[in-house]
């Protein structure tokens, strides 16, 4: 007997939406009873994708986070359900019973991920089933995983210690990491943190400050990087809410210093060093 799990590597997600569309293809307008009733043609996002735009001033990145049901083994929806409407299979998949769950709107509010959707017409809460009916029919992966072009979605058997998903699960974290207590079967790699970045110029000679030494000190650590040929530097995956001192140094130029706080991403694209 398998125990399923999914590891989502955010750094590999290109936001192509193939997973989102494959889910619609599988579920919209067609029942897969007893696992799932038909998803409405529009309005539900059983495989949701959250794009998070990070940065500003010419340094912009987008982290795309696919969010299906996490199939929590300590599932808040299971606790909120009446009449045994939410069940956990031995393979770990959490299902909302399409008959017993009728009218149980409270389930949509119970999920901390907003992964349970309300079907107004059917008076029914619904969500990702990990394509349990598809797996039960002998297929190897849920539809979303099957269509992922980069391997950002990885699915497999956690009971097999040699499976890729087992190996990667060891390094993966719940989303957000504070939610480990829910014991989700879906976990993440490369959850983005905060960014401090900038571009350094030498205005006296109208050049980029290639080789400038940039130091970020704070929270008990000191990190140093060297500005590249464009004068760019970057510190990534910093903790939020931390205060740092940022120092930019270049021989022959006055050091440039400022305080930055990672309440938001910090990007300054025009750090001008003064010639000594």
């Amino acid at each position: 007997m398998a125990r399923y799990g999914m590891v989502i590597d955010i750094s590999l997600c290109s936001s192509c939406y193939a997973c989102f569309l494959a889910c619609k293809d599988e579920h919209c307008g067609q029942d897969h009873l007893p696992v799932a009733a038909a998803q409405p043609q529009m309005g539900h996002r059983w495989m949701n994708i959250k794009d998070i735009e990070r940065g500003k001033n010419g340094r912009v990145k987008v982290a795309s986070i696919p969010i299906p049901c996490m199939h929590c083994q300590e599932a808040p929806c299971e606790k909120a359900a009446k009449n045994g409407a939410v069940t956990r299979r031995t393979d770990g998949i959490v299902l909302i019973d399409p008959v017993k769950a009728k009218g149980q709107k409270q389930l949509t509010e119970a999920c901390p991920y907003g992964a349970i959707y309300w079907n107004e017409e059917e008076n029914l809460p619904q969500k990702c089933t990990m394509c349990a009916h598809f797996l039960d029919a002998g297929y190897k992966e849920p539809r979303c995983v099957e269509v992922c072009p980069t391997g950002a979605l990885l699915f497999g058997d956690l009971d097999d210690p040699n499976s890729e998903v087992s190996r990667k699960m060891a390094d993966a974290a719940a989303l957000p990491p504070g939610n480990e207590g829910l014991r989700p079967l879906v976990k993440y790699l490369n959850i983005p943190g905060m960014m401090v970045a900038g571009t350094v110029f030498l205005p006296d000679i109208k050049e980029c400050a290639r080789g400038a030494r940039v130091t970020l000190a704070g929270g008990g650590s000191v990190m140093t990087v060297t500005a590249n040929g464009f004068g760019d530097f970057e510190f990534e995956n910093l903790p939020p809410g931390q205060e740092y001192t940022l120092t930019v140094e270049m021989p022959g130029y006055a050091a440039w210093k400022t305080t930055v706080k990672t309440d938001s991403h910090w990007v300054k694209s025009d750090i001008q060093l003064e010639r000594l």
């Binding site: 192509c16 193939a18 980069t150």
Partner: protein
């Protein structure tokens, strides 16, 4: 009935289609099995790269089920309610009037009798017909096939396409390095391997590979970008929009002011020349006219050096950054990637876009194009590929049922008169029109200089227009003009044939419902267009030939295009000649037998399995693009050049800084002169219009649709927030604007905004993002939805056809290309009417 699983193919990749009880239940990327040939491996820098053993498809393909059963399918033959072929035709009401259902017999009788009537009264040329592109896949049913065979028998005024996807490369780069047989795009062979082995940096200039995906190649190159990241290849993006690839892996994003890209190119050349960091040996051996170019760049001829300070003022990039770009480029082994196939990209669909395209080839040349790791490559084609295996693509001479390679009876269109797509509105409302260039000039450079006039001497104007597909409002320029075109009394009859109610169908007098390629038989190789993009399936990790099975019966009363044309041919007396006694499956078999697949498996085996994966040759030997040229050998790549030599097919055989072909044909052209250079855009920051309309609108090809296709029909796409956003039940197109501009305009995220200029008004929904440069509005072109507030009149369009706002002015005086990315507009919050 038990589940059936069929093979088929789409514009974005091959699929397995699950069907239960006559209804499609699933569309999956084609599933390979263990008997399919093993995949290639590239060894590079200590790694072995093998593609995952699965087929990927583009986003639109995943919505095929939604699209097939879309609400806006044309269900029955229809007639415009105030169109009477024997009485009042009311052309002025096209686009306004409703429709009533008629029988197939009635509809086909009217169409056939109208064809007979106009051709007997005015001449064969009085009939014209025009397709859209890319709505379906398959060698029998695609536009160049069943359609072409039918109209070649009837005779018709053919409408020449402008080379819209290649525009600047077609009209420009061909005069710099040849490749007119690729419409100006470069050869792509084996550059994936070359990149993985040798490249340190890729400059993506107007290139979003994760969005354009090699055209038809699904998401096959997505994994290549993962590999490149693993190798630490630095990605530089030059684009006013921090595009979908850039937000994932940019080492540097540079956002020049639109229309000034050529000045940036000049300044890069300036740095290389003054610092001596170009490939002097290659330039001396393999190029022509460099000294003249050098003198111009240094300002020796006009006293104005094209230095970084000059470019900084035009582009609004820091002077230091321009220098850094030039130095990073020269000090790394760098690929220059301009658009999907290396010869596309939004910067070439601009005023004087041919100049940018030519400068791109010249920059690649200055860095020794063809040496290991340094090349001219769009980063989405050029996987290891068995190019010896023949399977025709739709644009190949053998890729259609009108071809002598496939058909026994070959029709020849007797009509010499031509029209030009970009001039249709004027031709049908205010003829005559004239232009220079034979549309897609893929046969020779000289074709670009052929003069045309419509009506041709001694010929009738077009009186009947047969429209197949309906994409103009979302794809052409200044597209409110198409309203007047359709309402012109010069057009006595307009026929529309399509699967869905695409915008132009609502301007037709008679509407004929066709079916999708999931509802009929066809055959094709995935991703292969052939023709001008020879070996485009090298954008995929394997070549797959697909038997496109009929999965379900045609829905409602729809029929296949081949069937519709067969029934019309019957009424016009040439059914037997048209069909040669074959149904669609019969034609499929002819293609199979022509192809090399028949050397590997029988028709019966192919039909049963549904696909054939082309094996790689034993001991595959890569022949990287342009290596032969760099090393001064005879071309050893599979490129279909007219002649294999050690030279290019320019007049000098070299890369021409000064074009001898342009000197020969248009020596007095000051806009596309012999030597390329930056010129202020005729619709840019220095034009008079800029005072009134201070925003540049850029409108690249869409990420989540395919041209205009899927967008209007597959509602699942409307729930992708970077594609459309539903507000009050309407799916508005996403309009991206910088926070600084949005604040000044009082625009908030999610506001309905109007984009406008003197050409029209288009509505969209605001997305406020740092990804767009200041004073630029980014919105994807090719809206499939056209929803004017007052149908049949130029009025604000809720659909999002931003092409209403783009100028119909030609790229330059003697170049009949369009320039939709030179477009000035203003933007305001829409307060409703």
């Amino acid at each position: 009935m038990a589940e059936q699983i069929y093979t088929n193919c789409t514009v974005c990749g091959p699929v397995h289609v699950h069907v239960e009880n006559g209804r499609i239940t699933r569309i999956r990327p084609l599933q390979l099995d263990d008997s399919d040939p093993k995949d290639w491996t590239i060894e590079a820098r200590g790694y072995k790269f093998t593609p995952p053993r699965k087929v990927t498809v583009g986003q639109p393909t995943m919505t095929e089920r939604d699209r097939v059963y879309a609400e806006d399918r044309i269900k029955y033959p229809m007639i415009r309610e105030d169109f009477n072929p024997n009485g009042a035709r009311n052309p002025q009401n096209r686009g306004k009037s409703g429709y009533r259902r008629i029988s197939w017999d009635e509809a086909l009788d009217i169409v056939a009798s109208e064809i007979k009537r106009v051709q007997s009264v005015y001449g064969k040329e009085a009939l014209s017909a025009m397709t859209s592109s890319h709505h379906c896949w398959g060698l029998v049913g695609y536009k160049a096939s069943a359609f072409k065979r039918f109209f070649s028998f009837t005779g018709y005024t053919q409408v020449l396409d402008n080379p819209d996807s290649w525009e600047g490369f077609h009209w420009g780069a061909t005069h710099t390095y040849g490749y007119w047989w690729r419409l100006g795009a470069p050869e792509p062979y084996d550059l994936l391997e070359d990149c993985l082995k040798h490249t340190d940096m890729i400059v993506h200039w107007a290139n979003d590979p994760d969005t354009i995906r090699g055209g038809y190649a699904g998401q096959e190159s997505a994994i290549w970008r993962v590999w490149m990241r693993k190798l630490g290849i630095k990605m530089v993006y030059i684009d006013p929009f921090c595009n979908f690839t850039a937000v994932k892996d940019a080492y540097k994003w540079l956002a020049p002011r639109p229309g000034t890209e050529a000045a940036l190119a000049e300044a890069i050349a300036y740095v290389w020349i003054t610092e001596g960091t170009y490939d002097k040996d290659f330039v001396a051996r393999k190029t022509h006219g460099f000294e003249e170019f050098k003198a111009y760049i240094l300002g020796l001829t006009d006293g104005k050096p094209k230095d970084p300070a000059y470019a900084a003022e035009l582009t609004e990039l820091p002077e230091a950054t321009i220098k850094a770009l030039a130095r990073e480029w020269a000090s790394h082994r760098t690929m220059l990637a301009c658009g999907a196939r290396g010869g596309f990209g939004g910067a070439m669909r601009t005023a004087y876009g041919h100049e940018w395209a030519r400068l791109m080839v010249l920059l690649a040349a200055m860095q020794g194009m063809g040496r290991p790791g340094s090349n001219f490559w769009g980063a989405v084609l050029g996987a290891p590929c068995n190019t010896e295996f023949v399977f025709p693509g739709y644009a190949d001479k053998a890729g259609n049922i009108a071809s002598p390679a496939i058909a026994k009876i070959v029709p020849v269109n007797p009509v010499k008169q031509k029209l030009y797509r970009l001039l249709l509105p004027k031709a049908f409302t205010d003829p005559p029109v004239s232009w220079m260039g034979e549309g897609f000039c893929g046969e020779s450079l000289e074709q670009q200089f052929t003069p045309f006039r419509y009506p041709m001497a001694g010929h009738s104007e077009v009186k009947m227009f047969y429209r197949y597909g309906g994409s103009f409002f979302g794809t052409m320029c200044e597209t409110n003009d198409y309203i007047a075109m359709y309402q012109s009394p010069r057009l006595e009859c307009v026929v529309g044939q399509d699967i869905w109610w695409t915008p132009e169908m609502r301007f037709a007098d008679i509407v004929l419902p066709a079916c999708t390629n999931l509802e009929r038989y066809d055959i094709a190789e995935a991703s292969s267009s052939g023709g001008y993009s020879q070996h485009a399936s090298s954008g995929c990790n394997r070549r797959i030939c697909v038997m496109q099975k009929k999965c379900i019966e045609p829905l409602y009363e729809s029929k296949s295009d081949y069937q519709i044309f067969t029934e019309l041919a019957d009424r016009l007396g040439f059914k037997d000649k048209y069909t040669e006694g074959l149904d669609e499956l019969g034609w499929c078999r002819r293609f199979f037998e022509f192809s090399d697949a028949s050397k590997y498996i029988s028709w019966e085996e192919f039909y049963k399995k549904g696909y054939f994966v082309v094996p790689m040759p034993e001991n595959y030997k890569p022949t990287p693009a342009y290596r032969w040229f760099y090393e001064d050998r005879v071309c050893d790549t599979p490129d279909p050049a007219p002649k294999k030599t050690n030279t290019l097919h320019t007049y000098t055989g070299k890369i021409e800084f000064v074009s001898e072909s342009l000197k020969h044909f248009t020596p007095d052209d000051t806009e596309r002169g012999p030597m390329p250079r930056y010129q202020d855009s005729w619709e840019g920051h220095k034009s008079e219009l800029y005072k009134k309309y201070p925003f540049h609108m850029i409108s690249p090809h869409p990420r989540y649709g395919y041209h205009t296709h899927y967008d209007a029909h597959a509602k699942w796409l409307w729930e992708i927030p970077e594609h459309r956003v539903l507000k009050d039940g309407h799916p508005y197109i996403v309009v991206r604007i910088n926070p600084e501009n949005a604040k000044a305009k009082g625009i908030q995220e999610g506001d309905i905004v109007k984009l406008f200029n003197d050409r029209g008004v288009v509505l969209g929904i605001a997305r406020i993002t740092e990804r767009v440069r200041r004073n630029v509005v980014h919105v994807y072109t090719s809206s499939g939805i056209y929803k004017p507030l007052e149908p049949g009149k130029p009025s604000p369009d809720m659909g999002g056809c931003v092409n209403i706002l783009t100028s119909k002015r030609f790229m330059s005086k003697k170049v009949a290309g369009f320039a939709p990315n030179s477009c000035l507009i203003d933007i305001e919050k829409w307060e409703g009417q």
